[in-house]
């Protein structure tokens, strides 16, 4: 008895699998979302020179640590993809959960950082700079959480040897989340 496969694995009108094409389209829309938000931040950052007085209070160490964590989690994500390509399901599963571990570590560091900042009066309503700071980093953190949850679901199939193509798809999404942070980090933490 044959299992019905999802269309995303069987159909390829455009030369790449439909599932992968869909992920790239999602990333295309995310480029405009984050690009629009960061463009708005840039407008005001360049206009209001006094924002440097606010920006000096961002925690560069925490930002650097989170950059390291996300780069390492991206490594694990691509190693998971490699393991899935050679059908090593256990290895792919392990690397997926190492990636999720990176996501959780990122969120813990972010949580500690924000707890300190908020407890010292640096809240989202304090100034327009801090509004942008929490909105941009918060939107990114939501994407980290969503990616980690989806990755967890995918891992449960992977350990059973099913839907291995999804490891690549979530990996592509995860690398994009990493790329967004690569730009957020200098904008929010370095440009003081």
């Amino acid at each position: 008895m044959g299992m019905v496969q999802p269309i995303a694995t069987r159909r390829s009108v455009t030369g790449i699998s439909t599932g992968k094409l869909a992920v790239w389209w999602v990333l295309g829309s995310e480029i405009v979302i984050f690009g629009g938000l960061l463009s708005c931040y840039l407008f005001f950052r360049l206009l209001y020179g006094h924002w440097s007085e606010e920006a000096v209070h961002t925690n560069t160490f925490a930002g650097s640590l989170n950059t390291l964590i996300l780069l390492t989690s991206s490594l694990f994500a691509v190693l998971a993809h490699r393991a899935a390509e050679i059908k090593d399901c256990r290895r792919a599963f392990m690397y997926l959960w190492l990636t999720i571990g990176g996501a959780l570590s990122f969120l813990v560091v972010k949580g500690c950082e924000w707890t300190y900042e908020i407890s010292h009066g640096l809240t989202i309503g304090k100034s327009l700079f801090w509004s942008f700071y929490y909105t941009a980093a918060g939107l990114h953190a939501i994407h980290v959480i969503a990616g980690a949850i989806i990755m967890a679901f995918i891992s449960f199939d992977v350990i059973k040897g099913k839907n291995l193509q999804r490891v690549e798809l979530i990996g592509i999404y995860w690398h994009f989340v990493d790329i967004v942070w690569i730009f957020l980090f200098p904008l929010l933490y370095i440009a003081k």
């Binding site: 390829s12 455009t14 030369g15 790449i16 699998s17 094409l21 790239w24 389209w25 990333l27 295309g28 829309s29 480029i31 405009v32 690009g35 629009g36 463009s39 708005c40 840039l42 407008f43 005001f44 360049l46 206009l47 209001y48 020179g49 006094h50 606010e54 560069t60 650097s64 950059t67 390291l68 780069l71 390492t72 991206s74 490594l75 994500a77 691509v78 190693l79 490699r82 390509e85 050679i86 304090k126 100034s127 327009l128 990996g171 592509i172 690398h175 994009f176 990493d178 790329i179 690569i182 730009f183 980090f185 200098p186 370095i190 440009a191 003081k192």
Partner: protein, 123 residues
Amino acid sequence: MESHEPHSEMYYVKIWALLLVLLIISICGPMLEIKILTLVTAFGIAIIKAGIVASRFMHLNVEKKYIHYMLYFMLLMVAIFFAGVAPDVMRNEGTNWINVESKSLIEHHANIMDPEEQEPEHH
């Protein structure tokens, strides 16, 4: 569908190590507090790191060309948005208008160098 031999794990570890080196440079560069160096190390290296992650981790270097075109198009949309809105936001006055609040805010903070000024309002 496209296919390629999977790289070894060490290949990706080397890419990761390169990214870490670039991260360290991008952190240390701005510490010298030279504006042009900050721009190059912080933002220039960010673009390079993003390119490396996109090409080597996301495998964009072996992806179909129309994916590249789609992504470039999205970046172009962001650039058009920036160029279209920037003149309104980043200027305080034009031919027939003045952004009074923004102008006064900038002037207010420019005057803050005077220690006799009272505590500024945050915006």
